[in-house]
Amino acid sequence: MDIYRELILDHYKHPHNFGHLSKPTATHTLFNSACGDKITMEIQVDKKDIVTDIQFSGEGCAISQASASMLTDLVKGKTKKEILKLTSADIFSLLNTELSVSRVKCAVLPLEVLQKAVTSTV
């Protein structure tokens, strides 16, 4: 099936940046109660507003976990401003897979959580 291409399953089975930071600058958690995803993002932000480290945790489907995994790779070293500019389109191009309407929510949940975490640092 197209949606579960190899790269997505890889990220699901071996997610990058999965775990916790010892002293995060900000932490945020969101639920997607329709399907039962739960994602927490912990970020470390330096004085220049750069996200120097990031970890995610929680439970979710292959799509949301892969999305979180790829997203955390992408944003390391980026500024808060750059992160807040990311949109769902960026997530879709990361995942590069066919998403049905009901899966779009799963895909963008990690971004939503991350942006909430970033916003909460100001």
Binding site: M1, Y4, L9, S33, C35, C61, A62, S64, R103
Partner: protein, 408 residues
């Protein structure tokens, strides 16, 4: 009950998606509809479309009679002493909100309590959680035991003289647990005879024989769409004496007897609780659904589902990596199986099953407190009805194996 003739009554089962038949295992969410129900509703549209209780002309009288006959039939179906006790609502959620909004203001003061259970659907949890505290009371939560059942002895700790309402599901929409209603009612009333007992029967009325007199509860609620009827019609049954003293929930047309500039006299039961033009064809459709179920016989419905559930539990148990929740004993279990597959998120399970048109529900099933209590994330849920076959279960099992292969 002959399953292959029954299946012929459901036109949707003829549908093919991508050339494959539909394996519908989500009847707890909503049921499929037999042609009989569709025809009853179409007939209202094609031969006697009219508002009820208003026109002095043939079609309006026909519509009123059909609407009221549906009410009578539903009353009989659950053995209600009077059809005045059948209030049409939108669904179970609205029925439960009606109860919470009309019962609590006059009944709850500081120090009072309401008891609900950890395995409730949100619609029998949130209204109480939100409103009980608003009036200064506390919501007490009755936890389940390891096997997914309630322990009656817990009531000694939960119910006291200041407990005003105990409300619980008759059949859990996640665990399938069938609660021993009459025993609970007796236990509650022994401690506090004035405490009302409410049963959320959304998963009971469609699937097991229901006798409100034998149950002894003060009110029950259910939805038409889960029992072969249309969505948008639901029922509140409540003992007449209680319903009579309850204030109206919504104001408007039909629910009044006299209106003057300074005051209003409300209509008799059950119309006092049915403000505005009701879902006429919905009630008629639900009446037809009840007629259809009566023809099969609720004992037969229950027997079929018990057989399918036992078969499904046995088959699922044989798959390594599958964890099931709820009572193992089919005698106290409705046709619902919640499960998880090790290493695969439920959402992915559902998506891959959907390739073969196998319809299951995944998520929290509107029961987040229960999932938190169980300490699990989302679950997969397969649920059954009169049209479910062993072949459907076999398809599910095959589908699960396919999922496991993909995520190996």
């Amino acid at each position: 009950m002959n399953i292959s003739t029954t299946r012929k009554d459901f036109p949707i089962l003829k549908r093919r998606i991508n050339g494959k038949p539909i394996v519908y295992l989500d009847s707890s969410a909503t049921s499929l509809k037999p042609q009989y129900v569709i025809d009853a509703m179409t007939k209202y549209y094609t031969t006697y479309t009219a508002n009820v209780f208003r026109g002095i002309y043939t079609m309006s009288e026909e519509a009123t009679a059909a609407y009221e006959n549906a009410r009578k039939r539903i009353a009989k179906f659950i053995n209600a002493p009077s059809e005045k006790e059948i209030v049409f609502t939108k669904n179970t959620s609205e029925s439960l909100n009606l109860l919470a909004y009309t019962l609590l203001p006059s009944r709850i003061t500081k120090g009072d309590s309401v008891v609900t259970t950890i395995m409730e659907h949100h619609s029998n949890f949130v209204p109480w959680q939100q409103l009980v505290t608003k009036y200064g009371g506390t919501l007490r939560v009755w936890n389940i035991q390891k096997d997914g059942t309630l322990n009656i002895h817990d009531l000694k700790k939960l119910v006291d003289r200041k407990t005003k309402i105990v409300t619980f599901t008759a059949v859990s929409n996640v665990l399938g647990t069938i609660t021993p209603i009459s025993e609970i009612v007796k236990a509650v009333k022994r401690i506090n005879p004035d405490c009302l007992v409410i049963a959320d029967a959304a998963q009971a009325v469609p699937h097991i024989p229901v006798d409100v007199v034998a149950w002894g509860a003060d009110a029950i609620t259910f939805s038409g769409h889960k029992m072969l009827g249309p969505s948008g019609i639901g029922v509140l049954w409540m003992k007449e004496a209680l319903l009579d003293i309850l204030p109206p929930f919504l104001y408007g047309g039909d629910m009044i007897r006299e209106v003057h500039v300074k005051d209003t006299l409300f209509n008799d039961l059950p119309h006092k609780f049915e403000a505005g033009t009701p879902f006429i064809e919905g009630a008629i459709g639900l009446g037809a659904a009840v007629e259809y179920l009566q023809k099969i016989g609720m004992d037969q419905v229950r027997r079929h589902e018990k057989e399918i559930t036992s078969y499904a539990m046995k088959r699922l148990l044989s798959i390594p990596g599958v964890t099931m929740y709820g009572p193992k004993n089919p005698e106290i279990r409705g046709g619902v199986i919640a499960f998880r597959l090790e290493g695969v998120h439920p959402h992915d399970v559902a998506q891959i099953l959907d390739e073969d048109n196998i319809c299951i529900r995944v998520g929290y099933h509107c029961a987040m407190p229960l999932h938190e209590f169980l300490g699990v994330g989302a679950t997969c849920r397969a649920s059954f009805y009169i049209y479910t076959t062993k072949e459907d279960i076999d398809a599910l099992v095959l589908g699960i194996k396919k999922v496991q292969k993909m995520f190996k």
